[in-house]
Symmetry: C2
């Protein structure tokens, strides 16, 4: 009976797509069960036949957005060999993605995680996401003998923290005030981290 599975998956897809559209355009504050169902063309009660609750639905969107982000960055950095330049491209792509979709950044880092999932796994997956994107490059720097493992571990943490902070300040405080300045400052800070 795989027909059932296909139909069910399609239904889930409608709700997921609706949710992602709202998140992309309006962020988390645009989300409500009735709104999602409206957008999907069903009653709000129908949603509960396909998802435990709205948190599960949002949780799925987090995964989808991560995949989207990962794919985009992979394409941007495809031609660059591993190492510092590749790493810079990844970080820049990461910053680009979330500044294009501030609502998704908010969903990832700002929203109370308990609203998405209480599991520790979820937090790890969200907060460890950037690190997984950079993993190969850091490893490469160790293998090349450019940097000691201890130094890489430190820089790695700093890169994660710095990036999160950059987005937090830019998207929430609008500091710096415009995109070119932001990119400029971000590049400077990342350079400082990688070279210094």
């Amino acid at each position: 009976m795989e027909k059932k599975q296909i139909q069910e998956q399609r239904m889930r897809g409608y709700f997921i797509e609706a949710t992602k559209n709202i998140l992309r355009s309006e962020g988390v504050q645009g989300i409500s069960v009735r709104r999602i169902a409206d957008e999907a063309g069903y009653s709000f009660a129908t949603l509960y036949n396909y998802f435990r609750d709205v948190r599960q639905l949002i949780f799925i969107c987090v995964g989808d957005f991560q995949e989207e982000c990962r794919a985009r960055i992979a394409q941007q950095a495809a031609t660059i060999p591993p190492g510092k330049e590749h790493l810079k491209t990844v970080l820049k792509g990461y910053l680009e993605y979330f500044t294009e979709y501030p609502g998704i950044f908010q969903l990832f880092f700002i929203e109370k995680l308990t609203d998405i999932s209480t599991s520790r796994d979820t937090a790890d997956r969200i907060y460890g996401f950037l690190d997984t994107l950079c993993d190969a490059d850091w490893q490469y720097l160790i293998d090349q003998g450019d940097l000691t493992p201890e130094l890489v571990a430190l820089r790695r943490q700093m890169a994660n923290n710095l990036t999160a902070g950059l987005l937090l300040f830019y998207l929430h405080r609008l500091s710096p005030g415009d995109w070119p300045t932001f990119v400029n400052q971000a590049a400077l800070q990342i350079d400082t981290l990688l070279i210094g």
Copy 2:
């Protein structure tokens, strides 16, 4: 008729104190108008005689917590002369304060700012807070000729971003998992930033 003013201020104080207690112990998710009023010993409707809405109440708490944090750090760093060591103490005190009260960190950085205030001022005050605490030290480093103004501007931004990121990861992802490790890593990262 200043008696009225005093009484009114006292009433406001009851609600503010109740709100602060909840924020300290349970964070933003513990907040509700009825809960605050209960804690203050009044009906929820009474709250609206003294505050425009709950956002104004929370906004006041933000200011109070900042003052509390500032005072504590000032005391910790009182005996240290301006410069890098003083700066480190301030940053450490800042990290300490928010790890002691994770709910306040959440209130400051995680909660949707629109839930507190829509004004740009508020965002500036929250996100610029750490920077004001460090202002004198950065200025000192320039005046001493230790670092160029441009270099200080860069490090300054990095310090803000790094600190926010550190707290974000520690409090949300529990990474690193324990307090001593966190302090250790934080110190290392700050040293790297200031020396390197």
